[in-house]
């Protein structure tokens, strides 16, 4: 039966998985890596501060503090190096005629299901790192909170926002 197994992350020529989901563009990994590098740099500066000032904090426990800081930094670095690849592999989204469906997560895998009928607002945002790679996030606001689809190619993000806005406006027009 092993030969019959379908790879859930394999995409066809249209960029779709076998169960009808889109996956992210590979360039999204670069944006994630750069974001993570910045996080590592900040964590390293914080840990360096602990290293420098630890003797002043407590003579008795400075070695424990240093070791803990080092262990924490190692965990953060490992997570930052591994997470973009796992995120990319697991991140899938699908927009039907009436539902936005997003599956994502590294340790905790979440499946978000948002009825388009409940959407109040759709925003497209581009952070400085995402802009370098031509990426954008789509934030979907409902009365019960927000859900976002991240690291999309700018044209894809704009198309999704336009489609969702059109559908929402269509629903509202039907009600008038």
């Amino acid at each position: 039966m092993k030969g019959d197994r379908v790879d859930p992350f394999k995409v066809d020529e249209n960029g779709m998985t076998s169960d009808g989901y889109h996956r992210l563009d590979p360039v999204s990994k670069k944006s994630m890596y750069i974001g993570n590098m910045i996080a590592i740099a900040i964590a390293a500066i914080a840990m360096a501060a602990v290293y420098v000032f630890a003797p002043d904090i407590s003579q008795d426990h400075s070695e424990y503090l240093r070791l803990s800081a080092l262990a924490l930094l190692a965990v953060i670095v490992a997570y930052c190096l591994v997470s973009p690849q796992i995120t990319f592999m697991r991140y899938r989204y699908r927009i039907d005629g009436d539902k936005v469906d997003i599956r994502r997560g590294i340790l905790y895998i979440t499946h978000n299901m948002v009825p388009i009928e409940r959407i109040h607002q759709v925003d497209v945002s581009r952070g400085p790192i995402n802009r370098i790679f031509g990426l954008a996030n789509v934030t979907i606001t409902t009365a019960g909170g927000t859900v976002s689809i991240e690291y999309l190619k700018e044209d894809v993000a704009e198309a999704i926002a336009e489609k969702l806005n059109e559908t929402v406006i269509g629903i509202l027009k039907e009600r008038v």
Partner: protein
């Protein structure tokens, strides 16, 4: 624009002039508190300047409040409320009656002194749920007259304020019940903490340790006495009644509050049973309706602590379409493994913490008598044993109580360990659903479901226990199916 209470055609109102006094009291109290805390640094010369500055500030606030009051009007048309404010900026705000989630009438102590009432209009929005969208202060007789009109305009109630006051309450709640509610409806952790602090305060008193006594007493007061007084002040003289589709909840000791909302604006209802209340066979009923919450961010209460049958009966009366009776799905046995691992990790952390405390005990027990040293050590060992027992005990209760059921129009989630909550919610009120499985849950084929909804304090997440993900995803499927096949009709909730 004459504001004449006798003129029933008059539909335009301004705030009562006493709102200026409200503003002045707030400013004066803030400034005087500031002065008290800084006066040591000021000489007599500065004191004089302070008084001049205070008077100037009060004059400015008076002038501005009067200007704002005169230039702001509220008009109640057949379909909406229009507030026009023409001060430095000109603004017009319209609220259609169909968008209103609830209307609250509040009478604070100042309102009682001035003979006024506050009318608070809340719309069905998660953004403005904690603050009323519009507030209007009127003389009480004018407010009552306006309420009569609003009853028919907003709630289709052809009933006067006087008739409203004479209506029979749906459930008989005495002030004795409210005292019981104040004692037994508090969360269990809060009751235990308060009890421990009280015991500690008594012990400290016995050993003539005034610092420890006052600290423990303060913590007991904050955790138990203040919430107790708060409940008494808020829920004394409790009454709930229904006219047509409109529910009105009325209560208050010093300041009274009357909240009205349409049944179709209820987002969910929750039967809450803290451990002590459950042991007495009692429960409380709460409902999530936007605008029904107060500044204390507690969920709006529909029924204080009463017998479970009374609470269930009231729930069926108020929201029969939400309540259903069915055989719920219990959390599967496989969920015990991830819960046991989590409980074990927490227990090890607790034991390790107390072991470290014991190890370093000699550093902080220096100078204490043998009796005190033994007492502290015994307390640490007892905590290291008792807390893991409580953690695993909670796990057992969670496994026993957590259930999930899907009805025709609504679904039910039961959650909690020592304190149990049973929440019913209409599929049509679900905003979106997320099913999440963690690294400990995936190997055992279970996940949790988070339902996002609008609530009285903005938006709220309601989480299920651990169930197979395909069972939980049926919830979202049902929400979608109702939208697709037209069972969801937005007009029912307007």
């Amino acid at each position: 624009m004459k504001l004449d209470p006798e003129n029933t055609d008059n539909r335009t109102f301004r705030n009562h002039v006493t709102v200026i006094a409200d503003h002045l009291v707030v400013i004066a109290v803030a400034v005087i508190v500031m002065w008290i805390f800084t006066r040591d640094d000021m000489g007599p010369e500065l004191d004089r300047w302070f008084l001049v500055a205070l008077l100037a500030l009060l004059l400015v606030v008076t002038f501005w409040s009067f200007f704002w009051l005169k230039r702001t009007t509220y008009t109640f048309t057949d379909t909406e409320i229009v507030r026009v404010s023409d001060t430095v900026f000109k603004s017009t705000k319209n609220i259609q009656y169909t968008r209103l989630a609830s209307v609250t009438v509040r009478r604070s102590v100042l309102n009682r002194i001035f003979g006024t009432s506050q009318l608070l209009f809340n719309i069905n929005s998660s953004v403005n749920s904690m603050n009323a969208e519009m507030t209007l202060v009127l003389r009480k007789d004018i407010a009552d007259l306006l309420r009569d009109r609003l009853n028919s305009l907003i709630f289709d109630k052809d009933i006067t304020v006087q008739e409203d006051s004479d209506l029979q309450t749906m459930v008989s709640v005495s002030n004795g019940d409210i005292i019981m509610h104040a004692i037994f409806a508090q969360p269990t952790y809060q009751s235990i903490f308060g009890f421990l602090m009280l015991v500690y305060a008594v012990v400290m008193l016995f050993y003539d340790n005034s610092g420890g006594f006052w600290t423990a007493l303060l913590l007991f007061g904050m955790s138990n006495v203040l919430p107790f007084i708060g409940v008494i002040l808020k829920y004394f003289n409790y009454r709930i009644y229904r006219v047509g589709d409109t529910i009105t909840v009325e209560s208050g000791l010093l300041s009274t509050t009357r909240r009205s909302f349409k049944v179709n604006k209820i987002n969910s209802v929750r039967v809450r049973q803290p451990l002590l209340a459950r042991m007495l066979g009692k429960a409380t009923l709460e409902a999530e309706v936007v605008g029904m919450s107060d500044s204390d961010e507690t969920a709006p209460m529909i029924c204080p602590l009463k017998d479970c049958e009374v609470v269930e009966g009231l729930m069926e009366d108020i929201a029969p379409e939400i309540f259903f009776d069915s055989e719920p799905e219990h959390q599967p046995r496989s969920a015990l493994v991830p819960m046991a691992i989590t409980s074990a990790v927490f227990s090890v952390a607790v034991v390790a913490f107390f072991a470290v405390l014991l190890y370093y005990a000699e550093t902080y027990l220096v100078g204490l008598s043998d009796f005190w040293t033994a007492t502290v050590r015994a307390s640490e060992i007892s905590a290291a044993v008792l807390i893991p027992i409580l953690i695993f005990g909670r796990m057992g209760l969670v496994q026993r109580h957590r259930t999930f059921a899907m009805g025709k129009d609504s679904f039910m989630l039961v959650y909690g360990g020592y304190d149990i909550s049973t929440e019913f919610m209409l599929y049509d009120k679900v905003q979106y659903v997320a099913v999440t499985s963690g690294p400990l849950q995936r190997p055992f084929g279970v996940a949790t479901c988070t339902v996002n909804m609008m609530s009285s304090v903005g938006f709220k997440q309601m989480s299920s226990g651990l169930f197979p993900p395909e069972d939980l995803e049926r919830l979202s499927d049902e929400v979608m199916a109702r939208i697709r096949d037209g069972r969801y009709d937005y007009r029912r909730y307007q």
